[in-house]
Symmetry: C2
Subunit: 235 residues, 2 copies
């Protein structure tokens, strides 16, 4: 969930500076925050048809009153404008449907509208935001290469990290997340991009969270930063 503020103070008791929310998928990480924005704050949700369908199938999201909160369906590749004049475009990223929509054997690297990234532009500046990716395709890499800043999926360092630590039974790839490490990992795939690269959506088992760890040094040596709460980026 990417919330974009309007450049305007709201002083009333129920005011919110959030004018738009862009969803890159229907996973709990992306959508549960919507339930804190209710009940009658006007804003627009931009998302693909797949993500809007997942919301519609959950009556609880009806707390976002239809006459107040607008739901706009955006096709991947279609540029749209956010309040404040920021341009945006969604793009397909190999990945998985949300956990609660999985069948028996979900495809974990499908390129559909269920899992997308978002590219923001304002003047000549560009930001790409990709919180979940099973792989980096050639068109994705081209898009990321033109961004001044890329926020990218940093879920796990090692694909089997959760199994090894006893915190889960799934590999990162099973969850639709490529690991940072390895020949086909994120550090290798995005190591030579020209812009800043910031790892986000980091799982609490990932040793890049530990300052001074070997893995943190490896990520930093490859040119990656680690996102943190309250981080500010000036372009």
């Amino acid at each position: 969930m990417l919330a974009t503020p309007v450049l305007q103070a709201r002083g009333d008791a129920r005011g919110s500076p959030i004018a738009a929310v862009v969803l890159t998928g229907a996973e709990v990480d992306q959508t549960a925050g919507l339930l804190s924005l209710r009940e009658r704050q006007a804003f627009t949700i931009f998302a693909t048809a797949e993500t809007h369908r997942a919301l519609a199938e959950n009556p609880i999201f009806q707390v976002l009153a239809a006459d107040v909160v607008t739901r706009k369906t955006i096709a991947p590749g279609e540029r749209f404008l956010l309040p404040g004049g920021v341009g945006a475009e969604l793009f397909r990223v190999p990945g998985k449907v949300a956990l609660y929509l999985e069948g028996e054997n979900p495809t974990t690297d499908a390129e559909t509208g269920a899992n997308v990234g978002v590219e923001l532009d304002y003047g000549a500046k560009r930001i790409a935001y990709v919180p979940g990716a099973a792989a980096v395709t050639a068109p994705m890499r081209e898009r990321l290469a033109r961004a001044d800043v890329v926020f990218f999926d940093g879920t796990l360092f090692h694909d089997d990290e959760m199994i090894a630590s006893g915190t889960g039974g799934k590999t990162g790839r099973r969850m639709g997340h490529m690991p940072l490490d390895g020949e086909d990992g994120t550090l290798a795939a995005l190591g030579r991009l020209p812009g800043r690269r910031v790892l986000t959506h980091i799982n609490n088992t990932n040793p890049v969270l530990i300052e001074g760890s070997a893995e943190r040094r490896q990520a930093e040596a490859a040119g990656f930063e680690i996102a943190e709460d309250g981080m500010e980026i000036v372009l």
Copy 2:
């Protein structure tokens, strides 16, 4: 949502001291927190059939894996045991179904399993927790009178407070919440109970939140306390 801890430290990376959750309804206030307890933490959800049905109708709650999170249906009036040996009983409270389940003209003071209170007992001590109430019935009053501490719906002070402040179009009663003020308000209804009375579920328009306000003094003079974050009650 009332989360009850086990008396045991959990030191692992995904540990949680929460062994049970008791839901008094399916409103977002009660249920959205469940989405922060995922994904594979073992605990039990105790709730009425009505509340469990509302959860089941929202696929997003399937993130609480069925083989890990147990959902137990409890009928109002049936005593059950929480982990740690605390006794509990749900009881019907006049109120409303969750906002997202409302039809055109919802009944706002129905006594069904959709809106309940919970009474906890441990040894000779009793706590009652009623975050939403449209009225205090005679059986409810009897039950509340035997509690050492009552946590009670403090949503609005004046029934038309949200309309008057421009924050909403509904009265408290339309939302299934009796006001604190007035002849049939909460201060009058529970003014003579022997135990401690703590107002909870307080809306941000309610002037009892302001220390020193006339309404705060009125509530305090009637013997009520105002709940706050981190509040601890010793029995």
